[in-house]
Amino acid sequence: MAAEIPEELLRKWREEDEEARRIRRSEADWSFIEKQPPRIKAALKYYVEAGDIRRAAKLAGLSLDEFNELRKKANIPVVC
C-alpha cells in the first residue's frame, strides 16, 4: 500500500520543496513575524519552513482562511 517512490519523482519533490521554502523565506516580512504573539509567530515560522497551511492554522489557533489573511499580511507566498 505504501508505494515505493521512484527516485526521479522524489528528486522532483525535493527540488520543488526547496524552491518553495527559499521563496517563502526570502519574501516573508520577518519584522512583522517577529512582532506577533508567540503562538502566531511560531505558526508563521512553521508555515515558512513547511508550507503546510492547515497545520500552521491549527498551530495558530485560527481557521484556514483566517490564517491565510495573516499569511498575506506577513507577505509569505503560497508556492504551488
Binding site: M1, A3, I5, L10, D52, R55, L64, D65, V78, C80
Partner: protein, 184 residues
C-alpha cells in the same frame, strides 16, 4: 466542464480581482461538505454564498462509492510519510473527482503528489490556479494579444493572492500558451 474544488483553492481564488472568471472556464463546481466547514472569513463566505445561490457551486452528496474511494485515498496518504499532509477536505475532493471523472481544483501539494505517485489516482486531473488561468487564457476568457499580456494575467493573480508559481512551471506554461496563441 464541471470540476471539484477544495478549500485552499477557494480561499486563494476568492482574493483574485477576476474571481468570476472561473465561470467562463467551468459550468459548475462541486464542493464536498468538508470544504464548506472550513470557510470562515467574510470574503470567502460571501463568495461561497453567492455561488451556491447561483447554482455555480454545488454541495456534492457523498455516496457509498465516494466514501469507499475516500477511505482508500486516506489510507494512501497516511501510509506514505513522503506525502505532505492531506486532510478530509482534500481526501473527499480527490474522491469526488475520481468518482465523477472531473478535475480537482486544489493548491494542496499532498493532493497533487498522491495523483503523481499512485497509479489508481493518476487519472485524476489536478488543476492548480496556474492551470486554471492557462485554460482561461487559452479559451480567450482573458484577452491576451502578446507574451506580455499572458505574463500580466499571471502577475495579476500573483499580486492579488500572494501566490507564487514554481518558476519552471510558470515559464513552461507561458511558453506553451505563446506557441498555441501566437505561434511563437
Amino acid at each position: 466542464m464541471q470540476a471539484v474544488v477544495d478549500t485552499c483553492f477557494l480561499i486563494d481564488w476568492a482574493g483574485y480581482r477576476r474571481r468570476e472568471l472561473l465561470k467562463s472556464v467551468f459550468n459548475r463546481l462541486l464542493v464536498p461538505r468538508q470544504v464548506l466547514d472550513e470557510v470562515r472569513s467574510e470574503r470567502t463566505a460571501e463568495l461561497v454564498g453567492q455561488w451556491l445561490s447561483e447554482g455555480f457551486l454545488y454541495l456534492a452528496p457523498v455516496t457509498r462509492r465516494v466514501e469507499e474511494i475516500a477511505e482508500a485515498i486516506a489510507r494512501y496518504a497516511i501510509l506514505n510519510s513522503r506525502i505532505p499532509a492531506v486532510e478530509e477536505p482534500e481526501v473527499y475532493g480527490l474522491a469526488l473527482a475520481k468518482a465523477y471523472s472531473m478535475p480537482l481544483l486544489t493548491e494542496n501539494r499532498g493532493a497533487v503528489r498522491l495523483t503523481q505517485l499512485y497509479p489508481e489516482l493518476r487519472d485524476i486531473r489536478v488543476m492548480r490556479a496556474l492551470e486554471v488561468l492557462a485554460l482561461a487564457i487559452e479559451r480567450r476568457a482573458i484577452e491576451a494579444a502578446s507574451r506580455e499580456d499572458v505574463e500580466k494575467a499571471f502577475a495579476e493573480y500573483i499580486a492579488d493572492t500572494k501566490h507564487r508559481f514554481p518558476r519552471k512551471d510558470l515559464k513552461d506554461t507561458v511558453d506553451r500558451l505563446c506557441r498555441v496563441l501566437f505561434g511563437s
